[in-house]
Symmetry: C2
Amino acid sequence: MEVKLSSLALTPRSLDHQAADVIRQQILSGSFPPGHRLIETQLAEALDLSRGTVRSALQQLTYENLVVQLPYRGWLVPPLRSQGAWELYTLRSGLEGLAARLAAMAISPEKATLLERSFQQLVDAAQRGDRNAVNEFDFGIHKTIIQLTEHRRLQQQYKIIEQQIRLYITACNTLLEFDLTEIANQHQSMVKAICCGNASLAQQIAQDHSTADGETLVNYLQESEARNSK
Amino acid sequence: MEVKLSSLALTPRSLDHQAADVIRQQILSGSFPPGHRLIETQLAEALDLSRGTVRSALQQLTYENLVVQLPYRGWLVPPLRSQGAWELYTLRSGLEGLAARLAAMAISPEKATLLERSFQQLVDAAQRGDRNAVNEFDFGIHKTIIQLTEHRRLQQQYKIIEQQIRLYITACNTLLEFDLTEIANQHQSMVKAICCGNASLAQQIAQDHSTADGETLVNYLQESEARNSK
DNA sequence: ACAATTCCAATTGTCAACAATTTACAATTG
DNA sequence: CAATTGTAAATTGTTGACAATTGGAATTGT
């Protein structure tokens, strides 16, 4: 009974990466809300780290769009804008559509089984009427699809998109309104299309679904912006 | 005659950003070829900068996939792999397709004029038989389409994709083989579809075209990898 | 009273030194 | 001769101090 030692390898995790994790969590949990100014010296003191390490952490977060750097002037959790929401949801629809297409092109019985299992979780949650769980399994299905594509960059990009969508949902305090039956039906036809290798249909269904979600949020933010400009 | 001073505003460009520009150029020009190890101390000496500043520059380049960080062990220009090429081209097709769809949905006479002008440059280059120019204007059309969408994130993402495709082309020393007439025809039908607002057709054509390009490069790299594994 | 200028504290950007980890190679052991 | 250990050099990660920039308050000028 051999344990393969290379699978137990420990990876040292540098302080700047750890600091980025902590700051990311503060942002995603709402403790650092959109528009919040991030001061290096304060963060360095709070984290008991050197300011240079904090700078490195903040820079990492700029590439996740969780932080914006204003050179020589500071760092900021970006305010939520309808334009940003639109960009986020269109990109989401594009990436989810691409993933569905690629998965359909590379489908196998084993992959189909994984996908159907993931879909079943969504159906169960919808039948329980558990909106939070439905939202989670909605993301879960798409993550499964992306895993099936074995496309590492797509996984990375999707992770960033997902984080940001969660941020918008938390900050706007909206759980998006959706019809539970409709969600399950849409995903069923998408899962079917993928499993029988129909790439263009799978893509079409996948992107249509997230487009509808996005419009609700964009409208909400547009109204909010119109109110604030008076 | 008033010159609007705010349009002349100078933006201080920090040394780390400047260093990133220099290193990026070295990578894209082939001076730091795929697989090349990047040593902080050497770069710092060559650029007459502090090593911390170079670290910051390298970190910026990791988010463009031009550099990979191996924590505690170094930085590397990533080797070119067929898997990486596949991911790059599929992502390109997805983003170009999304851009075509969004542009078609938001088309106006002014935008159509811009797009047709861009297309005309491609046609002229094809008629001259100038392959380099055709390749440039191929990118040029897609950049125009993305500008028409007014989608900032898409522009950012496409820029990174474009850089990397240029890197693959330079490093593999292949100018992709393509039929000049076919290129012009494909782009004509795509431009038509966008200008008359046919979003799904525009997307379909856009993504099919870059998929074909990508397959050639992926095949080339797979053969190269098969040779090197003996 | 208002605009322009100056001053200074707060903050960001960079640096060189110290700390920590990895690599390569020589020496030792089995 | 192969495997293991030890160690110095190379390199990466972090730090605190100095340099540079910005924004807002105070002062000056009209």
